[in-house]
Symmetry: C2
Subunit: 389 residues, 2 copies
């Protein structure tokens, strides 16, 4: 994701360059794993993660970036020999919003995922086979608890910022709720304190589509291959909700597609696009991870004061961002979050960015986000008294 056209404009082409995904494992059958929110134990736990920039001597310049539903640890730069810029490459790098000349940026793949971190496709040490549905139910709080272990491992006491869009924004809020003393500032983008019934409904249809595919085999498909058709349809639904009516109009209008001869072949470009995105997704994302992670999102709920269950330090700062045409995580949800923060007397700034890109905007509206994030981080960092340019 991200627009390749926009890339490099803001940074004179300077990027993170070649980066490598690392792994951090904790816990074993003997102990030291995670106690999950639902009470079950998980061990060992591996997190795939990447870092960009350099941790300063005071360890005060670390920014944790959290990915969305189908994202991964590869947020910036490219991998050796590949042309695969990270999902927020436009935002992370020298001179960019998360300026790696100044900050040490960390991104890890969530627990429950399928991009190097422990999830349903990982080997269950009890059986030597993939967990599949024996993987325990995970919560956004568990994703954050695993990240906390990684942050400990990196020797960082307090993060300068935790930032992310969509489900990444939920993790940002969960960090504040779970470990308020360890978050100097928070940047929740295009997110919500909890899912509305409409958001749950879309996720439920996504799950039903996967589970309706007989190739899903109650989750035990690993020796046979993915439930490709169900997963592709699930992702098509997602893509409709990530775009806006307007951005679809601009991208496709009613342009016709060539080459359909059988009945119900695509007539319109938008149909071909959705099928392409659906099929591509099957190659890169585990169906069971999609089930587990969407459930974690639906159950997430920090409304009604739960965000403030632990005392938040007075100097914690919030930058809340939403996008005008985002109907999946509408601005009304960000405004509700801001009201909740204000009720808690938090230091919160809110900005709704004009955009036609819908929910995808947090990945593609780079210029405005860069402006907001850069200044917010500079003020936070300098106010901390640990850095002057």
């Amino acid at each position: 994701m991200g627009t390749s056209e926009a890339r490099g404009i803001l940074t004179d082409g300077r990027g993170e360059g070649v980066v490598e995904t690392q792994r951090f494992t904790f816990g074993s059958a003997a102990g030291g794993g995670m106690r999950l929110e639902n009470g079950e134990a998980l061990a060992p736990v591996t997190l795939a993660y990447e870092t960009y920039g350099t941790l300063n001597r005071e360890r005060s310049n670390a920014v944790l970036v959290c990915h969305a539903l189908s994202g991964d640890a590869h947020a910036a730069g490219i991998h050796r020999g590949l042309d695969n810029p990270g999902w927020w490459d436009d935002m992370i790098g020298p001179g960019k919003a998360f300026d790696t000349d100044r900050y040490f940026v960390i991104c890890s793949n969530v627990v429950g995922g399928c991009k190097g971190s422990t999830g349903p496709s990982s080997t269950n040490p009890a059986t030597g086979r993939p967990y599949a549905l024996d993987f325990p139910v995970i919560a956004v709080a568990d994703m954050v608890e695993a990240q906390r272990r990684l942050v400990d491992h990196l020797g960082i006491d307090r993060l300068l910022a935790v930032a992310g869009g969509s489900m990444g924004g939920m993790q940002v809020l969960q960090w504040v709720a779970s470990f308020p003393g360890r978050v100097r500032s928070a940047i929740p983008i295009a997110t919500a304190l909890r899912h509305s019934p409409q958001q749950i409904a879309f996720n439920e249809v996504v799950r039903q589509s996967i589970m309706a595919d007989p190739e899903w085999r109650q989750g035990n498909y690993y020796e046979y291959g993915q439930p490709a058709k169900g997963l592709a349809v699930a992702r098509m639904i997602g893509h409709i909700t990530f775009m806006s009516d307007r951005s679809m109009e601009e991208k496709f209008s009613r342009k016709r597609k060539n080459g359909g001869f059988r009945k119900f072949d695509p007539d319109f470009e938008v149909e071909g696009y959705l099928r392409y995105r659906g099929d591509a997704f099957v190659k890169r994302f585990d169906a069971n991870s999609y089930l587990y992670i969407t459930k974690a999102m639906d159950r997430f709920d920090l409304s009604g004061g739960r965000l403030f269950e632990r005392t938040i330090p007075l100097d914690t700062r919030f930058l809340v961002i939403s996008f005008e045409s985002d109907w999946l995580y509408p601005s009304s949800q960000s405004r509700e979050l801001v009201r909740e923060l204000k009720r808690g007397a938090a230091d919160a700034t809110y900005c709704e960015i004009r955009s036609t890109y819908g929910h995808d905007a947090f990945l593609v509206e780079i210029e405005e986000q860069t402006h907001l994030v850069r200044h917010f981080l500079e003020r936070t960092f300098n106010g901390n008294g640990t850095f002057r340019r």
Copy 2:
């Protein structure tokens, strides 16, 4: 569909009473069938239809009501021995919006459907087996051409009004385009001159969901049973788009559901509701009909002056209605229709009704619609000089 609570309020409990579905068949292998828009022939063609009220001597009080995607000929009253009010029962009956003390109301099931009219589940006379995908591609214009034959058969030259919501509204507009001299007034509700890419995208996912089910068997499932899982998921997607974010919030909020014990059983009421509606749909609607009809909707396009291809009589009147919270057929599409009508110098009134019900509003916002439709029909009828109360 429709709200049973609202029923009877406006009419002191008077309804159409017991009604019966009738059948009209035309054409045979020898000829007299339909020449479809794509050039293919279809014969015989049966239309299931119902009528309510009495045709007057001048045959000037006939109103054709057109149903939406999954509707049928049963628009009002109940069938003998059943408690199954028609889909627009709140709008059609003595003293109601379409007042059967004054008007003769006709509703027929569309060609391509599965509720008594000829469609892919009908017997192909060439093989003695269901058509399945040998059924020809149909267009909204074909639905209307078949209705025109029925209207001829009933001896009606000019319809006092053609009315309908959603795909019903498309048929209304197609009547104006195909047979302008035979339409005295038109009431297109919650509809569009053509689908946007977002509307096409939702329909495409619906089709993909059906076709992804191996039980679909390339359309040849009739001896085995419906592709139940794919069709249920398809309908779940539909139901999300028929409601609004707000109406889902009001109906479900985040209320929990009891009884889920296995992983990925529904947690929330909204999930249980969608599964219930999806499963119920499988029992009442043919999967192939869903494919054919959604394609007809996506290909429908009367924009760019095509609505006026034939000359529209000067006395033709339009009442365009849309609903504030309808994001599937947003008011902007109705406003575009009104602009198109005004460019054609047509006599058009437009009203956007306040509602939180989303696209479902045309089925449930009875009071405002009744007010608008009743007065519009009275003015049209009286202006015609054939009726004074």
